[in-house]
Amino acid sequence: MKTRIIAKLDVKSEFVVKPVHFEGLRKIGSPAELAKKYYKAGVDEIFFIDIVASLYQREIRYKEIAESAKDILVPFAVGGGVRTIDDFSKLFHNGADKVVVNTHALQNSPEIIDNAVKIFGSQAVVVNIEAKKWDNYWECYTDCGRIQTGKSVLNWVKEVENRGAGEILIQSVDCDGRKRGFDIELIKSVVDFVNIPVVAGSGAGCLDDILKMRTICKPSGISISSLLHYNELTVSDIKEALKNEC
């Protein structure tokens, strides 16, 4: 099956922003406008992540979410600040097809994964992981790379798989927004370690980065932000490049 190309929108307040190392935010545009633009350009899926909702304990931005879901006929995954089953339910009713969890599951209650899976099914539960590399292992971070958790990435991916999560979004605190290539070792370790789909993010700087990572790691999906936001590559460029390479 073809690798999915996913446009990831990092949202703060009512804007899509692009952090570098998850810091130093730049405003790119409104989520609804960008979701529509990338859908028309041919992406296979759109991720909408509110990057400050957990950190500042903000309410989930249903208005922007529903607006963004309005014109796109591909799957729409939404995360940021998700704490309860009721949040999941409201997100689905506002146009989400999948819900992404991170901070709450990692810091307070991993059981939210099991509970959500029982009600909504595995396919609707995505776990976002922000990994930072240390000498001999990767550590999970939360709140957009700000909070250290002491939890090993590989232990956590296995745990979320066992709890029934349907998909993992793996991002790298070290590589995110730098456009110098993916953390290939991290992505490969995670893809090989679990039997659920893995979406690889953080670090795409050019087509070669994407091709190389895809060839070595074979993720189910690749999440792209900066390259699309700054119009450095189009979705067709990426799909064309991936077409001849299996």
Partner: protein, 202 residues
């Protein structure tokens, strides 16, 4: 006059919003059915699904939708999507053995294959029996979005199959007026809208 399609809303999980949007794009008129009283005035029904098999059946019972739905499906064309397709079957094995609506003689079981599960992403369909549902679909090019861990095991009403990781499963069935698709037409770009158009004109 446009065809009125009633979408069954049974509880917490439901991508009603996306499905009604897709039906309107396909030229139909979409409405939402939450209780027994809401069934009046529709030409067709869509049974959506985000969720697990037992939970969906519980919600059906809780909202007293089960019996009337079985009754209505007998005379109005109905399209089940993903879990909506699965609960049209006789029995499901997600978490525990649960009885479905029993309109299709099939079992719903976990996908057993070497690939990663859930099966997630755009994939093709192979039509094995002519059905108005796939009219005008070019199966060599067009793809549909799948997101599921369970599959329908059926031998008699299959209209399309899909390959995933050297495993072949039922991606669509039809028995008289009852249609089911394992993929999400509301999430499958223009190809999905074609499916809704076909369903509306059946």
């Amino acid at each position: 006059m446009s065809v009125k399609v009633g979408i069954i809303d049974y509880g917490m999980a439901g991508n009603i919003y996306n499905i009604s949007k897709a039906i309107e794009l396909a030229g139909g008129k979409a409405g939402i059915i939450k209780t027994e009283k809401d069934f009046i005035g529709y030409d067709k029904f869509v049974l959506p699904g985000v969720g697990s098999f037992p939970d969906a059946m519980d919600e059906m019972e809780k909202h007293s939708l089960k019996d009337i739905l079985i009754d209505k499906i007998q005379d109005k064309p109905t399209l089940g999507i993903c879990l909506g397709m699965q609960i049209l079957c006789k029995i499901g094995f997600e978490f525990k053995e649960t009885k479905g609506l029993n309109l299709i003689n099939a079992e719903v079981r976990k996908i057993e294959c070497s690939g990663k599960v859930p099966h997630m992403g755009f994939n093709k369909v192979k039509i094995i029996k002519d059905s108005p549902l796939f009219k005008g679909i070019d199966t060599s090019l067009e793809e549909f979005y799948f997101m599921h861990s369970y599959e329908v095991n059926n031998y008699t009403d299959v209209i399309a199959l899909t390959d995933y990781s050297e495993h072949e499963f039922v991606s669509a069935f039809q028995k008289d007026n009852v249609f089911g698709v394992q993929f999400h037409p509301e999430k499958s770009r223009d190809s999905g809208i074609k499916i809704f158009k076909n369903f509306i004109t059946i």
